[in-house]
């Protein structure tokens, strides 16, 4: 009988379907009986703005000189019905993140950074803090299903109102703030007992559909003397219809949040398997606005995975009026900093992967209510870092716009784009690079 003991062996092969992460999740679930909760947005590879390129100028397009010729960046949001629309210096805004999920210092830093760059920041589920209002030149007040901390005085103090129907990380899902982050102050603002798990409702308590929402918008306008722009924020689920219905309901601004958009805490299975990518959502939202002849009349703000000026440029070229950043802003403040690697290791994770924001043990002092941890974040320095980051994004955006011959970033257009993959071409509705082919057309 032949001896094959010294014969070459096929290398061990782990299954694609059951990769190491999947196996670890099965073991974790088997040990605990609880689904995995985490913060952040979708972590898997999705078609994104990286799959698009800007074409730049050539013989048929006339470029503008970088650093010399003017390239405007300002944007007006909410001039459909509001008598006092927002006039922002840059089309990059800070997305809604709550005090409760974030520390008061983090909220203040967001306000400082945004104000330094002439843009807006946004409250979150849990109401408006004095720190945030005091440091925010333009503050958007979120009107959420929970109505935690909602009151007419803060409503009138706001510069705009954002009705949150959903968010990209979990369209159809409500909020969740686990008991360890419900401190005395957070509990007081939310009228809850200290230490309980706080669930924010997944649907508004006093309306059930778009016709009702139209009346709700009227009420909010009546309470605020028709001054404040009213946004409607939706998670990217059915962006064509959600955008159209928001316009019909009387929104000044529609905010569409793709599945890469972050959350403070929800089930991993929800984050990764509900909703559609930002890239796909932008095109559908713009199509709805165009079909209604409301493009540029009702402004579109896009969020979910915006990281740099290129992402902004591509979103604007697809038809957005502005973008909102959340996760990237937290990173600019200091979230997931490799300098804190030793502490991340103690939490069983690593810098860049830390997403247990709901546990309140953030060594960066951002997603925590622990007073000792929160003290680690200097709101002035962190705000300065955010301002720097926003400045870089804006410079990148202007650089790309000038290269495409635009004297204002709002003039970027779909004709400036090509796609690198068939999927991105189909989703964004722009030609596959090197062809004139748009899948489906």
């Amino acid at each position: 009988m032949a001896d094959y003991s010294d014969a070459p062996r096929t290398l061990p092969k782990k299954p694609w379907t059951f990769d190491d992460h999947t196996l670890s999740e099965i073991r974790r679930a088997a040990a605990t009986g609880i689904y995995d909760i985490r913060g952040g947005g979708s972590k898997r590879r999705l078609p994104h703005f990286d799959d698009l390129v800007l074409l730049g100028a050539s013989i048929s397009r006339y470029a503008l000189e970088g650093y010399r010729e003017k390239c405007g960046t300002d944007v007006i949001l909410g001039d459909r019905f509001a008598s006092k629309p927002l006039h922002l210096k840059i089309p990059i805004t800070i997305a809604g993140m709550s005090f409760g999920s974030l520390s008061a210092n983090a909220k203040e830093a967001l306000g400082r950074g945004a104000s330094a760059m002439g843009t807006s920041t946004t409250t979150g589920d849990g109401g408006m803090t004095p720190e945030e209002r005091g440091q925010s030149r333009h503050l958007v007040y979120q009107y959420l299903p929970s109505r935690y901390g909602m009151n007419p005085d803060d409503l009138r103090k706001a510069d705009a109102i954002e009705i949150v129907v959903g968010q990209g990380a979990k369209p159809g899902g409500g909020g969740m703030l686990l008991g360890q982050k419900i401190t005395d102050r957070v509990a007081g603002m939310r009228t809850l007992p200290v230490g309980v798990d706080q669930r924010s409702a997944c649907r508004h308590p006093d309306w059930t559909g778009p016709d009702d929402m139209e009346i709700k918008i009227q009420e909010l306008r009546e309470i605020t003397n028709w001054e404040k722009p009213i946004y409607v924020k939706v998670g990217a689920a059915r962006p064509y219809y959600d955008t159209a219905l928001s316009v019909k309901a009387g929104a000044d601004v529609v905010v569409v949040d793709g599945m890469q958009g972050g959350t403070a805490a929800t089930q991993d299975v929800f984050i990764e398997h509900v909703g559609i990518p930002t890239l796909a959502a932008v095109r559908e939202a713009v199509r709805a606005l165009t079909d209604l002849d409301m493009h540029r009349k009702v402004q579109l703000v896009v969020s979910g995975g915006i990281r740099n000026g290129a992402d902004v440029a591509k979103a604007l070229a697809m038809g957005a009026d502005a973008v909102a950043i959340g996760t990237a802003a937290l990173v600019a403040l200091g979230d997931n900093d490799p300098a804190l690697e030793a502490e991340y290791q103690k939490l069983g994770t690593t810098a860049g992967a830390y997403d247990d924001w709901h546990e309140g043990r953030d060594p960066a002092g951002i997603s925590t209510q622990d007073p000792e941890l929160a003290k680690r974040l200097d709101p002035v320095k962190a705000g300065h870092r955010l301002a720097n980051y926003l400045a870089v994004m804006t410079l990148e955006l202007q650089t790309l716009a000038r290269a495409n011959g635009k004297s204002h970033v709002r003039n970027l257009e779909p004709e400036d784009l090509a796609a690198l993959t068939v999927e991105a071409a189909a989703m964004a509705g722009v030609p596959l690079a090197g062809t004139s082919w748009i899948p489906g057309q």
């Binding site: 009986g33 007992p193 798990d197 006093d206 009346i215």
Partner: protein
């Protein structure tokens, strides 16, 4: 707008909603009568001063929404979300109210002399609500604070996922929602209920009511409660 020494009439047959609401919001004090409401939505909302307003007829959605300090009486029926997110003051509906009455209210007193529909007191945060008749299903859902008093019957799933709000019902309860249980009526509860009934002008014996509230078993996620999720 017709003004007398005692009262200012705001006639919605002659004024539009913005004009009426602006007059009510800007008044620091005074008595107002709103006539010909005709089911107008968002009427008398956002009031912020101790004015007294009587609306002669039926209102649409969100009547007296976010009320603060004002006393508003609707002599008729009210649509969805009457006195939603009320902060303080008194809102009274002499007829029936539709769904989500007093939703998310933080304070003040809402009195509905007739019946109200589903989700009355949903996510209430300190408001007191007294209903003379019956209430629909899912009332006091996720109710956080305040009292819901029902002189008639309550629909299904009363107090589902309730936090620290208290519910008093004189009649029959179709069913209780998750984590809502009947609780002992102690002296302090009878006194609280008697005071609310008196404020609301309801002729009802506090001893005929039962109290319901949170069992507090679902306040923190526990896998042993899987059947309740």
């Amino acid at each position: 707008m017709t003004t007398t020494l005692a009262n200012t009439e705001l006639d919605l047959a002659k004024l539009d909603r913005r004009q009426v609401n602006r007059a009510l919001q800007e008044a620091a004090k005074g008595d107002f009568t709103v006539t010909n409401p005709g089911g107008t939505h968002a009427l008398a909302c956002g009031l912020m001063h101790p004015v007294s307003v009587t609306i002669k007829g039926h209102c649409g959605y969100y009547a007296a929404g976010m009320n603060k300090e004002a006393s508003v009486t609707i002599e008729g029926n009210a649509g969805t979300g009457v006195a939603e997110n009320m902060m303080s003051g008194v809102v009274r509906v002499t007829g029936d109210a539709s769904q989500s009455a007093g939703a998310t209210g933080h304070g003040g007193l809402l009195v509905i002399e007739g019946n109200t529909s589903a989700r009355c007191g949903i996510s209430m945060k300190g408001i007191d609500i007294v209903v003379g008749g019956n209430i629909g299903h899912m009332c006091a859902f996720m109710a956080q604070a305040g009292c819901l008093v029902v002189c008639g019957d309550a629909g299904a799933d009363l107090g589902d996922s309730i936090y620290e709000a208290r519910i008093y019902v004189r009649g029959r309860v179709a069913s209780l929602g998750a984590d809502c249980i009947e609780k002992e009526m102690r002296d302090e509860h009878r006194a609280e209920l008697a005071d609310l009934l008196e404020q609301a002008g309801m002729d009802a014996d506090p001893s005929a009511f039962k109290r319901y509230g949170s069992a507090r078993e679902l306040y923190n996620f526990n896998i042993d409660n899987l059947d309740a999720y």
